[in-house]
């Protein structure tokens, strides 16, 4: 997407991070609940930019490049919109310079 302030593109930023992507999703978002959400707080707050608004007012979510931080379930207004868990042991993000 955009290159604001001459900073790097978001995909390039994420491509530097090592992810051991699991076969199954550790976070699932119920887009039906999202459709009635007015804040869409997750869209801005998720540092990995994984919550993408869809034309019909819902959310498209992909778990693969997740930092496993917990921001989304804490800011979510939709009660049970997000089923959140850590990936299985050994899977998911691997930070080298954390």
């Amino acid at each position: 997407m955009t290159q604001r302030y001459g900073d790097i593109a978001f995909e390039d930023r994420m491509s530097q991070v090592d992810f051991r992507v699991a076969g199954n999703a550790h976070i699932v978002v119920d887009t039906d609940v999202c459709r009635s959400c007015t804040t869409k707080a997750c869209v801005h707050a998720c540092p990995a930019k994984l919550f993408v608004p869809t034309d019909d007012g819902g959310i498209l979510f992909n778990y693969e490049q997740c930092f496993e931080c917990g921001t989304c379930y804490l800011v979510c207004d939709g009660g049970n919109a997000i089923s959140w868990s850590y990936p299985d042991g050994g899977q998911g993000v691997v930070f080298r310079h954390g």
């Binding site: 991070v17 801005h44 921001t71 379930y73 804490l74 050994g90 691997v94 310079h97 954390g98």
Partner: protein
């Protein structure tokens, strides 16, 4: 997701095991967990140290400085062996307002030699190093394994943890949850107050590559010396702060952003960070550097007033799982508090095991209160609120920069204004009442003084 580690998971009720697999199970091989496991193993107890990452530190993110004094007690010659990037010999606090800045800059070469004060290090290296000490003392490290639930008897005694391995129940006489800021185990035990989001900040960080010589030139250090900069302001109006630390051939620049403010602001974290990197006082330090890693992690910012109960019924909490990170403006210290609390949890548990019963919570609390862990947190209990307050966040940086600008601007032929007049003018200009200023100064003095 009830059978995985998350907010919806619940404790599992089991029968009291006849013989436990281990004397103690410690969950999480961060600084708190490894310190606890090390202390227990040294006392001769069998310990399992369960870590969900493929190696200790792989899931962990911080700004970059470990303040090592507490390590003197845990690993006496730590500074000869710890994987260090740079020793901090220069600490700055930078106040940003618009494109202005005021910096307090302190340097001490004493910090560049033994016993040192603090060092930058990557968590992948530091956490692995520390867990290595626990292993060498006899603890069993169980990596790539998530503790998904507490095992509890019908009468509420914690007797182990369930893991995501096949037949993965690990029973123990005492469980120490060092599972970090999200602490799903602590929540299963009902120890945490509600309203976590209000006391939580999101930390985002870029690790930027720069040649060693460039870092030394830009930051005014040589050899293995390094710089630690805390930043107030520069968060595009979201309550929080920033940091900038030097490693050997990278610098870490990042932000700490209050979750409620971030959710409301409609700004993205990396955009706010890009804006900070454009500030005239920050840009020359990071210019031209390439991002080698982008990372994010939550911080429990609430301090003393937001701490959960510290355990009970065979369970203890230490480190971020007990909100023991100290985040108050000029300080961002969590690793040393995690090391201290983990060590005392391990010590209290070891003493409890030796005397037959795991009634260790009282002793744990006593050890914490006698040490910096709870002493500092009690003293600074009003600091997180003050630092994240509207005035400190939005008005004081402007006030201080106005004041500095008034003092340093030479506008002859007009006579120089007196300090009192400058202060009144700066306060008025930034919408601060003198009475509020006096009150905050008092709170600040009580906390920091």
């Amino acid at each position: 997701m009830r059978d995985r580690a998350g907010p919806a998971a619940e404790a599992v009720t089991v029968r009291r095991p006849e013989a436990a697999d281990f004397d103690a199970v410690v969950v999480g091989a961060g600084p708190a967990g490894s310190a606890a496991a090390l202390e227990l193993a040294r006392a001769g107890h069998s310990v399992a140290l369960v870590e969900r990452g493929p190696f200790p530190g792989s899931k962990n993110v911080y700004g970059g400085v470990v303040y090592g004094r507490i390590l003197d007690e845990l690993i006496p010659d730590w500074y000869e062996r710890m994987p260090v990037q740079r020793w901090i010999t220069r600490r700055q606090t930078m106040l940003l307002s618009g494109d202005r800045s005021l910096t307090v800059d302190f340097r001490s070469q004493n910090w560049g030699r033994a016993p040192y004060n603090g060092a930058t290090t990557y968590r992948a290296e530091f956490d692995s190093w520390l867990a290595g000490h626990a292993r060498a003392a006899g603890a069993v490290l169980v990596p790539s394994t998530v503790a998904t639930a507490l095992l509890r008897t019908a009468d509420g005694q914690v007797v182990g943890v369930r893991t995501d391995r096949p037949d993965g129940d690990l029973t123990a006489r005492v469980v120490i949850a060092c599972d970090g800021v999200n602490s799903f185990l602590g929540k299963q035990a009902g120890l945490h107050p509600d309203e976590q989001a209000a006391h939580t900040t999101l930390g985002v960080k870029e690790t930027l590559a720069l040649p060693r010589e460039t870092i030394e030139e830009r930051f005014g250090v040589t050899g293995t010396d390094g710089v630690d900069i805390e930043i107030l302001g520069g968060t595009s109006g979201v309550p929080g702060g920033g940091f900038l630390y030097t490693n050997r051939d990278t610098v870490s620049v990042g932000l700490v952003l209050g979750l409620p403010g971030l959710a409301k602001a409609g700004l993205r974290p990396e955009e706010i960070l890009a804006e900070l990197k454009q500030h005239p006082s920050v840009r020359p330090l990071v210019r031209g550097a390439e991002v080698v890693e982008y990372s994010a992690h939550l911080i429990p910012e609430g301090g003393y007033r937001s701490m959960p109960r510290l355990g009970g019924n065979g369970l203890l909490l230490a480190g971020d799982s007990a909100a023991m990170c100290l985040a108050a403006g000029i300080w961002l210290e969590g690793v040393n508090f995690a090391l201290g609390s983990g060590m005392y949890a391990g010590r209290a548990a070891a003493n409890g095991l030796r005397s037959g019963g795991p009634a260790v919570l009282g002793e744990y609390r006593r050890l914490l209160e006698k040490s910096f862990v709870l002493a500092d947190h009690k003293k600074l209990r009003d600091a997180p609120g003050l630092v994240l307050s509207e005035r400190v966040q939005h008005r004081y940086p402007g006030l201080v920069c106005d004041l500095a600008e008034g003092m340093f601007t030479v506008d002859n032929p007009r006579p120089k204004p007196g300090l009192r007049r400058l202060l009144r003018r700066a306060a008025r200009h930034n919408g601060v009442r003198m009475r509020e200023l006096a009150r905050d100064a008092l709170t600040g003095l009580r906390s920091f003084g």
